[in-house]
Amino acid sequence: MTVYVKGVVFEGVDFDDPNSWKLDAYVARGGYAALKKILQTGMTQDEIIAEMKTSSLRGRGGAGFPTGLKWSFMPRNFPGQKYLVCNTDEGEPGTFKDLDIIVNNPHALIEGMIIGGFAMGITVGYNYIHGEVFEAYERFEAALEEARAAGFLGDNILGTDFCFQLHGHHGYGAYICGEETALLESLEGKKGQPRFKPPFPASFGLYGKPTTINNTETFASVPYIIREGGQKFLELGKPNNGGTKLFSISGHVNRPGNYEIPLGTPFSELLEMAGGMRGGRKLKAVIPGGSSAPVLPADIMMDCTMDYDAIAKAGSMLGSGAVIVMDESVCMVKALERLSYFYFEESCGQCTPCREGTGWLYRVVHRIEHGQGRPEDLDLLLSVGANIAGRTICALGDAAVMPVQGMLKHFRAEFEHHIEHKNCLVRGY
């Protein structure tokens, strides 16, 4: 289920109309007007990047890096081929917004990528789509065909000498390919193992060429910013947290789904939009930004607004905007056990601290959950975590540690109870 409250990605989309994703419907709601504006009014690359900076749009893939700044890093006059890559490898547990964009409004993404290509002087792009959502890959390919036939994509776009080719590429089951350099390796037809950085993709990216990578939702926000101006986008949200965002709400709410709302909306309002707690049970905790984000207890969460700065101040992160809601029936040990298993399973195995450490974290949480925990295990978890964090090639190592730290910070008593009494305080999942 998708709920559009206010925003830029799903503006005007009719979720009940099976044809609403198509080009005609997109154009009728103002689609491709931003591209026309650029090509017909002679908007320059600098002007586009300036609008992007004004908007204060921050990357929607998890790290929240300012998009305008990222675009300005691209060596615009580099003589050889450069690439633009979209990251639709959405696999961070709790996140399902990019799937929704591809299925319901693929042309917003396509238009955003074409504009990005123009702004950075790039002529070839790829969209890397999570393998498990193969139907979304097919939808994207169909939308590309429409855009090519209408002259928005390909050679001599809208009769100008600007050319931009765009292709879909699918993954086949590896969470790590969401990490941008693993994604590039995978796009080159290799194992998805993250690269050492530096060099960063802006200088050494796809096939060794300068490359810019952004998330699906980031690109899909671009047409609005160019059409309406960066200032208008910024004002939809709050300073430094410009615009609106898609929040994927899963777990114990009555209406799980994607909600497009202004950044800075109180969490309590979002929870209400999602129909409140299922079965009228009490809220226990929320993971506010995808499974890697440290968990926050109900009382802290109920005082938070949903934006990068507020969630960071509360000790977690907004990440991809995946909000996992847990009621009082959830056993935090069991919840953490499942997440730790995930990182262990998905570690690419390249660096020892991550390969060994994620296995260690999982085994210790597993034995606590199964009544074999020892009193020293909680300190052991923290010390194993300290030996992973910051010592790995990519951020999956940190992503595995943060949930452990968050759980022990806020729910330590529950873990101690498990160790002492060999069973759960609560009996839900």
Binding site: G91, E132, V133, H170
Partner: protein, 157 residues
């Protein structure tokens, strides 16, 4: 080893990449081969590698690294159920248990009649529709309550 239709699909994928980067099509070529044969034998992987023009070992690496490739025979229908936390909160783990009971097999196993293989999956990016189950890698089924599972299984010959 592959039909002209499958080869034409691979050819189409190859056009997406620079002429000297045919390796980029490895993943989609292996996917196309797996759709036709249901699983990837060593011979099939080698065939695909030769067709693209890359060393067989490069294609083996890809077939081994990515979870959705099957390196041993699977049933006529591969069912992958997501049991990660967001889904588990809405019945994902229960759906997995129900499937195990109903089919009488564990994760990674195939029913004796070769009809179903059951797999435990990680987040498929569809957590809002939990419980979710992927049929034969490409068809996502949402809201898989026990009744919905019964109905789906009956449809799969």
């Amino acid at each position: 080893m592959l039909t002209p239709e499958s080869l034409a699909q691979i050819d189409r994928e190859l056009t997406k990449y620079p002429a000297d980067q045919r390796r980029s099509a490895t993943m989609s070529a292996l996917r196309i081969a797996q759709v036709e044969h249901r699983w990837l034998s060593n011979e099939l992987i080698e065939f695909v590698a030769n067709y693209i023009g890359i060393p067989p070992v490069a294609a083996y690496e890809v077939a081994t690294f990515y979870n959705m490739f099957d390196r041993k025979p699977v049933g006529r229908h591969k069912l992958t159920v997501c049991t990660n936390l967001p889904c588990a909160l809405s019945g994902g783990a229960d759906a997995g248990k129900y499937l195990q009971q109903k089919l009488g097999i564990g994760y990674g196993e195939t029913t004796a009649d070769g009809r179903f293989t059951l797999m435990e999956g990680e987040c498929m990016g569809a957590c809002g529709y939990a419980p979710v189950m992927l049929v034969n890698n490409h068809s996502m089924c949402n809201h898989m309550t026990p009744e919905a599972i019964d109905k789906k299984l009956a449809e799969l010959e």
